[in-house]
Symmetry: C2
Subunit: 438 residues, 2 copies
């Protein structure tokens, strides 16, 4: 059930907030032992809150599209009185005395919080294979990873445990699990959703956004989460939209299923009236390298004080933190300078297009533990591939949406990424909704 | 002669642009062999340009307050066809094919360029004791340094070789030589004057501004140089201005002459109607430390590719570049984070005051080669002292003006620093002009 359908059913009294919440809790009870999407389930509080929202509706108070909608928060977003672990042993007993700003905003818009979703430790990785809280599994095939770091949030939505879940994205952590689990996820413009009360990872790269079942659900969720007011209005129709189709970079080192599905999506967009424009993109490998240097440095600066408790940190995250400590400041400064140059080049590119269309990930979800994949006869590293198309847009701060656009013969979802100019999320939603409908 | 007086004389035909220019060139010819303010003098071009501006005035074209005013540019500001060395052997044969944006702006406003002024090598130091182009000397006493890095510009103005000279300020490089030479210098708000065409040093700390004989001259000069339009209007009078007088930091480790002169200036401001407000300032030592880490890193990132020519770089600058290469990225990141925290604290402070009044430098100009000075029985490092009050405002980006406020019994000038909120340069000029007149 989508947020929009649930809203209609609630308002026509076909279902109550409590029933909707109970249905999600039942799914969680049934599926979570296997999929491990949730670290904490706040069932009692959720039922109480749903009853309260039912009473509000009954007496005519309607908070809007999220009224009574059961959602979950990634477990690095502070929730008052509810343990917030960041997926880490370092914070396993952390119970915040305040809500993050995004939690407050969603509460004000009437959501019911079901609990807190699991993640890659400290949000610093893309498998969601968590050494402290267990492996999170892909609902389409539990032998596969859900992607990360917001793996639990993607799984919760994909397996109907929640109608929406919040995520964070520092190098693809919303878009990657959305792509691997077959849901919609948007990394909005840098700064659009307040990071106040959210555990940072890379302060110049961190973004917060929703994961949801449909583009329309992502739209109403982001509307409630966003604190900025700079957003552009949506275009009147898809006909106005100039869609850039990359002729370089995004269709090399890509699984053939993914390439074909994304090219088919471009054709569908054209069929809907969008204008396809072949473009050459700037040097994304350089942008990725700069983003990685920046992330390694910023994360190490943040967690350096914790390295005397290194045995409590998982081996992969620990390695990244040690790596970050070895970066010289000159490399960080040069990475920031390169980032500015590339941002300028992307702004130029976006004078000729309104939207860039790429695969969200070059491959579909690998198996748990799978380190290599073969594409066109070449053996490639699954982890490097996973972030290859996503990471650059964290450095640029441009909004980027991932949505399903097909699946492999084995039934693994394929993700389409669409990128727009800063504060033009509405354009992505308009195009995404059209593709979803088409 | 000031810019304002020269302007009146030009318009009443008491003097011509050519006569004004020739007078400056005569001073240069006479004094430069001893003081070494100029690296390049463009006498012929200057005379030709002055004649052209005389013809313009004669036929009724008046470009405004800088029409026909002879000025000089610090020799790291690109001037088309005129060698621009940055005070370095690395660039000794560099002849730009374009003017820096600030040069264009000043040319458009009618100045006559006399030549290029000497500086501390690469603007990376505060003595202006340059190993490649010679020691620049203080006009008040040639055994003393003029301060730096914009030493040549301050000397040119102080010794009547130019009516104004441009400078750059990354850690005090305009305000320090202004203070040591007894002229006015302003580091405007970060970004107000375009850095395009100016050799960078620390890209997040670099500022460009004028050095001039009076506050009014600095005002008209900055008006012509600034490309931003965000500036606030000047307050109607000094009566509206709340002047913060620091109760901590700025009156410790200060020579008694300097302390007394600055306290007397505060009293004069009060006599003019300003409201003195005792304030405690945030942790400037922390801000200075953060600024220095940022500068070391940014400068090293910039000049790292030149370190294979290390023998061509002076020993002090080379040491700073090697030091910068040893800074870990985590320290740079933490310095940037600390900078943000302190900027927030300073913004809070500036909700209770409009202007902060401090000494520009804790001491007057040291002798050439003097490394130590004794204050209140304590032996202190002259170079650390020199930047102690100036450096922090580069990290904050707040505008800061240095103006003379007395002299020692030996005749060495004492500098007063006034700091305002971003884009409130006009307030500094209003208060400065009142103090100058009072």
């Amino acid at each position: 059930m989508t947020i929009l359908d649930a809203g209609k059913a609630l308002r026509s009294r076909q279902i109550s907030c409590l029933e909707l919440t109970t249905r999600c809790l039942d799914h969680i009870a049934k599926l979570n032992p296997r999929l491990n999407a949730f670290i904490t389930v706040t069932a009692e509080t959720a039922r109480g809150r749903a009853e309260e929202l039912d009473r509000e509706l009954a007496r005519g108070r309607d908070r809007g599209p999220l009224h009574g909608i059961p959602i979950a928060h990634k477990d690095l977003i502070a929730t008052k009185g509810v343990r917030t672990t960041s997926g880490s042993k370092l914070f396993e007993t952390n119970v915040p005395d305040h809500d993050a700003q995004v939690v407050q905003r969603l509460n004000d818009s009437g959501v019911v919080m079901l609990g807190k979703t699991g993640l890659h430790e400290l949000a610093y990785g893309i498998t969601s294979d968590n050494p402290h809280f267990g492996t999170i599994r892909n609902p389409r095939n539990p032998a596969h990873i859900p992607g990360g770091s917001s793996g639990g949030s993607a799984v919760a939505v994909a397996a109907d445990m929640a109608l929406m879940a919040t995520g964070t994205d520092t190098g693809g952590s919303i878009r990657i699990p959305a792509s691997y689990c077959g849901v919609v996820g948007i990394k909005p413009t840098y700064g659009l959703v307040s990071v106040s009360g959210v555990q940072p990872l890379g302060f110049s790269l961190d973004h917060i956004g929703p994961l949801a079942a449909t583009v329309s659900d992502a739209r109403v969720s982001l509307d409630a989460m966003a604190s900025g007011s700079k957003r552009q209005a949506a275009p009147a129709s898809v006909r106005e939209i100039r869609v850039g189709v990359p002729q370089n970079y995004y269709f090399t080192q890509v699984a053939s299923d993914v390439r074909e599905a994304v090219q088919a999506a471009a054709k569908r967009a054209e069929g809907l009236g969008a204008r396809l424009i072949p473009v050459r993109v700037p040097d994304i490998d350089a942008l990725n390298a700069a983003s990685l240097v920046i992330l390694l440095s910023e994360a190490a600066a943040l967690y350096e004080p914790y390295l005397d408790r290194q045995s409590e940190i998982g081996i992969d995250v620990r390695a990244l933190l040690y790596q970050g400590r070895l970066v010289p400041a000159t490399d960080y400064v040069n990475a920031q300078r390169l980032r500015k140059v590339l941002a300028q080049e992307f702004r130029s590119l976006f004078r000729t297009i309104d939207c860039l269309l790429t695969p969200a990930t070059p491959i579909t979800a690998p198996r748990i533990g799978q380190r290599e994949v073969e594409i066109d006869g070449e053996t490639l590293d699954t982890r490097l591939l996973t972030t290859r198309f996503a990471r650059g847009f964290n450095a640029l701060g441009f909004p980027a949406l991932s949505m399903p656009c097909g699946e492999t013969p084995e039934g693994m979802p394929i993700g389409l990424q669409m990128v727009a100019r800063p504060f033009e999320e509405s354009l992505l939603f308009t195009l995404g909704e059209a593709l979803e409908g088409g």
